[in-house]
């Protein structure tokens, strides 16, 4: 038995397409260890988001085994999948996905509310997370009042606040300029070093690739190259 944080064996994912099926992931193996700062790279449509969704238990494999933190994704009940996401996985999206009617503070608080943490504990954790992303002074702002860079930093804080084992980041810099992109990436790199959080990106952004310590190239639903950098 491998101790890998994430372990994928023979993953195949098919989507129904009218009467036939479309095979997005064509069967590959992959292991990701704790503390990695790695990324799935590849052209549009190569299946990066699909892999992230399955690792994040938002979707299930058509064939093959995907194990995340000891959980077999295929056999999770909706409730168990929600628990896995809630307790151990943080998501960061290209479009930030902040809840528009909540303040920055409330957005970051949400995962902790779902975990059922008490008020004092929540407050301390939220303030820590806002400090990591340097947004303490924006705690009462609403998402509509934030810039893109600030919004994505809130999203990073929301993903990190519960100190999950894994953060899945799908094109986190695609809507950001280079200054903000580097800013976000170095924040995530620091958190990865400090908290030993595993980061898995899906990206075709060169700026992100510069930070990656492992680059997994996905082409047409298969791993074409898997290289350790540095």
């Amino acid at each position: 038995m491998s101790k890998a944080l994430i372990s994928i064996e023979g993953l195949i994912k098919r989507f129904p397409m009218g009467n036939s099926e479309f095979t997005a992931l064509k069967g590959f193996d992959l292991k990701i260890e704790q503390g990695e700062f790695c990324g799935l790279v590849g052209p549009s449509g190569s299946g990066k988001t699909t892999v992230l969704n399955i690792i994040g238990s938002l979707d299930i494999p058509s064939e093959g085994k995907v194990n995340v933190l000891g959980n077999d994704i295929s056999s999770l009940t909706p409730k168990a999948a929600a628990k896995l996401r809630n307790e151990h996985i943080g998501f960061i999206f290209q479009t930030y996905n902040l809840l528009p009617v909540y303040t920055v503070y409330e957005n970051v608080e949400l995962p902790l509310l779902l975990l059922g943490y008490g008020k004092e504990k929540r407050k301390k954790m939220i303030m820590d997370a806002l400090e990591w992303v340097d947004l303490i002074d924006k705690r009462d702002s609403r998402p509509s009042q934030l810039s893109g860079g600030e919004s994505q930093r809130v999203a990073v804080a929301r993903a990190m606040v519960k100190r999950p084992e894994v953060v899945l980041a799908d094109e986190p810099t695609a809507n950001l300029d280079s200054k903000n992109s580097f800013n976000i990436l170095s924040m995530m790199e620091n958190l990865n070093k400090e908290l030993k959080t595993t980061f898995l990106f899906a990206t075709h952004d060169e700026k992100v690739m510069k930070y990656l310590r492992r680059k997994i190239s996905l082409v047409d639903g298969k791993i074409a190259k898997d290289e350790i950098i540095k």
């Binding site: 988001t49 979707d59 909706p78 307790e87 479009t95």
Partner: protein, 385 residues
């Protein structure tokens, strides 16, 4: 607990649109209570007043008497001589009715001439006014009759009737009193004069068309048909029922529109907030949890709409039910001839009933859109599709 808290945040955050819905709902809610109370007030009042004014505790009708048959009215009368001893003014009031032609200032019109014992106390009509001294026969009419015939107190009118044998006769009468109440069955087209005067005029000594009795009347009189209050008030009750059912249907439709607007808001919200739903799922909510969140959000509309409605509605309803409201045209629309002041009859049970109906409808329209959340695919909604 969490859903309750988050739903409240969503509602507060949703801003104007949410509050608009809540306020519309609260207005509809108060309107329903108010209008139903209004109808109850109108007809409840009429029923009660009609009873005390005209029907006492019931009436004995002479054989074949049919109030809806004015053509043959002259034929419905019969003698009560054998029971006369029991007819003290406080327990029985014989009434003789005959059609008459009224001449006023050269104009003539038809009317019902009714003879009644002035001293009677069975009906709450102020018949004692017929004891007013006059050189003519003292007559009493209602305010509607006075208005339509353009009559005032002190006016002299000529009454033409046909006596028992069919012979025409005419007498002058003085309007000694105009009744100011709103009971049309003793008002419109009617002239009240002392019973003995009418009996003399028609040659019908000790005869009456009907006898109104009080609760204390405890004799059997044969040859007369007893009509109890249920029978006498049936028309009014049917009218009340029809009007309040009609109005209730109308206000349920209004409620339906308010409900549609909430349904629409929530349905739209489910589509507009797909990405948000996906995000909540990614953060660790189950779809059932999100569904509960949206349902509770809808239920807040009901709770807040009702709560706000109660805050301004209760004082408003209390105030109007004490002070009454001037609603003359409303009364005419209802097809009844009433006074212009109406006192809505708002009871706790009415409020509770309307509250339950409103709450149930809002919960249903909140649940239906939320139900579709369970059918969404989380990876799709995350893309906002």
């Amino acid at each position: 607990m969490l859903s309750i808290k988050l739903a409240f945040r969503n509602l507060v955050g949703a801003g104007k649109r949410a509050w608009l819905n809540i306020i519309v709902l609260s207005i509809v809610y108060v309107m329903i209570i108010f209008m139903v109370g209004m109808i109850k007030g109108v007809f409840g009042g009429i029923e009660h007043d009609t009873q005390v004014m005209e029907y006492g505790n019931g009436q004995y009708w002479s054989e074949d008497y049919d109030p809806h048959d004015p053509i043959n009215l002259r034929d419905y009368h019969q003698s009560y001589t054998q029971y006369k001893a029991y007819f003290t003014p406080d327990v029985a009031a014989p009434i003789l009715i005959t059609p008459a032609t009224v001449y006023t200032e050269g104009r003539s019109s038809g009317a019902l001439l009714k003879g009644i014992v002035p001293e009677q106390t069975v009906m709450q009509m102020p018949t004692e006014k017929l004891l007013t001294k006059s050189n003519y026969i003292p007559a009493m009419i209602g305010k509607q009759m006075a208005k339509h015939a353009n009559l005032a107190e002190g006016d002299i009118i000529t009454l033409q009737v046909r006596d028992k044998k069919g012979v025409f006769d005419a007498v002058d009468a003085e309007v000694v009193y105009i009744m100011q109440h709103d009971i049309q069955t003793v008002d419109n087209g009617q002239i009240w004069i002392p019973l003995d005067e009418l009996q003399d005029l028609l040659g019908m000594k000790n005869e009456a068309t009907l006898i109104t009795v009080s609760e204390d009347f405890d004799h059997q009189i044969s040859g007369w048909e007893f009509k109890d209050l249920d029978f006498l008030l049936a028309d009014i009750r049917l009218l009340t029922f029809q009007k309040s059912t009609g109005a209730a249907i109308m206000y349920v439709m209004m409620l339906g529109m308010a409900a549609m607007s909430i349904f629409d808001t929530q349905m739209l919200a489910v589509f507009r907030r797909k990405k948000e739903i996906g995000t909540l799922i990614a953060l660790g909510m189950t779809q059932r949890h999100v569904k509960a969140l949206f349902t509770i959000e809808g239920i807040y509309y009901a709770i807040l709409g009702i709560a706000i409605g109660l805050v301004y509605g209760i004082p408003l309803l209390l105030y109007t039910s004490i002070k009454g409201i001037n609603y003359g045209s409303f009364a005419e629309d209802m097809g009844v001839n009433l006074g212009s002041i109406i006192y809505p009859e708002v009871s706790l049970s009415l409020i509770i009933n309307v509250t339950i109906v409103v709450a149930v409808i809002i919960m249903v329209v909140s649940y239906l859109p939320a139900r579709s959340i369970s059918k969404l695919n989380p990876t799709q909604v995350l893309k906002g599709k």
